[in-house]
Symmetry: C2
């Protein structure tokens, strides 16, 4: 009998994936439940000992991802599963959409010059340090291209972790956060340029200035174009959509669909999808969405308080802020669901076995020091906004550094040792930043 | 240069799926945006001409899924993609979790006897009609097992469509809705029994009474056990979790993780995951969640209205009902996102080409008539709760009928013609029900 129900269960579940025939669809439900619940449990535990919530999620991931060291292999499948990987991508896309929604474009433009300077220095100094100082010094006798690739992995900034820390502490509105966010956008474009240049050097032995110009032009066109066009269209589309259905689901769909669409478009343009999601968040200003109906709560409460003069005027902003009608508020539960998947999965990428070789660890510590110093140097240009906060805010390399290293490996210029060094550097910058940043931000208060 | 960015884009996106290497991860973002937005546009258009919103989503799916008839093949990949398929499953799981949350277990128990009767008749009559009347009559000369399988496909009820219509019209609290929901749970168990019996007849030529008893015992044990145990645990776990973090994200995680976990457990037991999600929804009563903090909105408003005596007491229930703190309310955006994916994808499964053969269509119309009459016969036993509403509420066969037909095809007893007949029966019962049910429910008002 066992045979029949399991066969049946697969059939019952496989709809509508029967053509694809994914056997792990059912397991994914369990994994999502596990990640969702344990992240929610770990985060407050981390906060009790003074760590930010995101570190709790990262460490939970490190724990789950390394249980194999104790002979427990069940969780090994999770980071390899494409459905969970997509959920994680959705998580970081939703996070950057939320951060975009909570950022006013005007604030970002105001720090634009400074952010460009910080972003450029933050790409250049770590690249130069990696390619010409610590690379040749700590790992002598390798190919010039290998050092260039090491430099490239040190250049990338991953804004997900920092954004999350700023958001958890309610600091997204500070100039430091604006500069880090702006610099991260610049970094993503410049990182793309560096990777293209270095790859081109490895593959054809020379740099095409035309190519570099085209990458920059495309990226600027995409970012500028989508934000400019989006802000032209959004007020009209909002009015039109609100006429069709002024309910909260339409408002929600417009914001989330725009986020997914621009994430896809960024991806097609060769940029990170999260940059597109961030741009989508910048499109929507509360004013654009005024055509959506007055929240039902206001309509229900108004008759009750009409006798108390002036009270309704004081209540209305509070009611609007807290009800599901506000677009930021509606994206929140999507974030609760998917954002932890990203951070737990990021933690699961950490392979503690790379820490077993003392020589590799020693080299990695040197490279990590260069990685941190390079970004702290950029922080100096943040001025009054907070040199240390901005510098540390750009330290996490997260997935971007790993991806650059992967590309180098595929091009045959990154050795296994070098790859392990990069992995440790990514682990350290990712895990150190949240507590340091939390401490810096709390100290400022 | 084209080569490099696209290679790079894949690398940038593939994290952390690089091991899995899914190339369509990026496209999925576009598809989700498309489904989300166009479902939101189609639903109000359908409502304007008097159709329920769900029919709009289904018809949108039919349209997208059949654009290949006009030589436009882009959308053909969507229903075959496992990630989108998983999103759709998540959608129907979230829908049944919502329906469970909005259903009081006591109401369901009250109609339990009647629901069991309706469910049993609703399984038996269509099965007998299919296996012994319309099968041999419309498709003479086939194997006895083929007729038995046709009967089995007519027996299954798919509650997603009906649940959505009841929910859209705010009728989940009516006795008719309770009976349909209860009968759907019974039907899922009995459908499993019928499929096991018929499969066993085909494979070994006899029915094992022990097997049937074991399937029923397991299903009853799972449903009864998880609801009984869950309701014992939920008040304590809620208190414990609220001590750790009394914020809305913890409340949300507890409810959603329980839904995903029981959906997985139901799947492991051979039941439909949606039955587990529905059971999870039944676990949580508002009382269990009283330990979670007073919504922040109440705390902010209280000082403002303290001078108006008694006003706060009248405001409090309205505030609590509308703020994100209520668990039903927090699941809502997850539903807005994923539920349309399920209905659009269900529509996309409809292959209009099956309607091209007039003989097949004629036979299918006969089978569909039997499918509808069989369920309407069950409705008679609903008594005062609304015979027609309950009967029509059980008419949609949705994916379950298709899955039964797939099993029959795999066992070699279902011919291509028979399969097409079942597909048309599923199309018709799925598409006819929402408008009929809406009309019946509105007429009653």
């Amino acid at each position: 009998m066992r045979r029949l129900p399991s066969f049946l269960a697969l059939a019952l579940f496989a709809f509508p994936a029967w053509a694809a025939g994914s056997g792990v669809v059912g397991e994914n439900l369990l994994w999502l439940a596990l990640i969702l619940m344990s992240a929610r449990l770990f985060a407050p535990l981390a906060q009790r000992v003074g760590f930010p919530a995101v570190l709790g999620e990262l460490l939970l991931g490190v724990l789950l991802g390394n249980l194999a060291l104790f002979g427990f292999h069940y969780f090994d499948q999770i980071p390899r599963d494409p459905i969970i990987a997509f959920m994680a991508e959705l998580g970081v896309i939703v996070l950057l959409l939320q951060i975009g929604l909570e950022t006013r474009l005007a604030d970002l433009v105001r720090v634009g010059g400074r952010a460009t300077l910080v972003g450029s220095v933050g790409i250049a100094v770590p690249f130069l340090l990696g390619a010409f100082v610590v690379g040749p010094w700590l790992l002598p006798g390798l190919d010039r291209n290998t050092y260039l690739f090491l430099g490239a992995t040190l250049a990338a900034t991953s804004v997900g972790i920092t954004g999350r820390v700023f958001r958890d502490l309610g600091k997204l509105g500070t100039p430091a956060a604006q500069i880090v966010l702006g610099a991260a956008v610049i970094d993503d474009v410049l990182g793309l340029v560096i990777l293209a240049v270095v790859s081109s050097l490895v593959q054809v032995g020379e740099v095409s200035v035309g190519e570099v110009a085209r990458i920059i032009a495309e990226a600027v066109l995409f970012l500028g174009g989508s934000i400019w066009l989006g802000r032209k269209i959004a007020p009209h589309s909002s009015r039109w959509l609100a006429q069709l259905d002024a309910g909260p689901s339409m408002l929600f769909a417009q914001v989330l669909a725009t986020g997914l669409f621009l994430a896809w478009l960024a991806h097609v343009m060769g940029l990170a999808p999260i940059i597109g999601a961030f741009a989508a968040g910048l499109l929507f200003e509360p004013l654009f969405l005024k055509d959506f109906e007055t929240p039902r709560i206001v309509r229900e409460i108004e008759p009750l308080v009409q006798d108390s003069r002036g009270l309704m005027d004081r209540l209305r902003p509070i009611l609007t802020k807290h009800t599901g009608h506000q677009h930021e508020h509606m994206i929140e539960p999507i974030g609760y669901f998917f954002v932890p998947v990203f951070f737990v999965l990021t933690g699961m990428q950490v392979d503690l076995q790379t820490l077993a070789d003392p020589t590799v660890v020693a080299i990695a510590l040197g490279v990590t020091a260069a990685a941190i110093l390079g970004k702290l140097a950029a922080g100096i240009f943040a001025g009054d906004a907070g040199k240390w906060v901005v510098g540390w805010g750009m330290v996490p390399r997260g997935e971007v550094g790993l991806i650059f290293a992967m590309v180098g490996k595929q091009l045959g210029v990154m050795s296994e040792t070098m790859f392990s060094v990069v992995v440790i550097m990514v682990i350290l910058t990712t895990l150190i930043t949240p507590p340091v940043l939390t401490w810096l931000l709390r100290r400022k208060d």
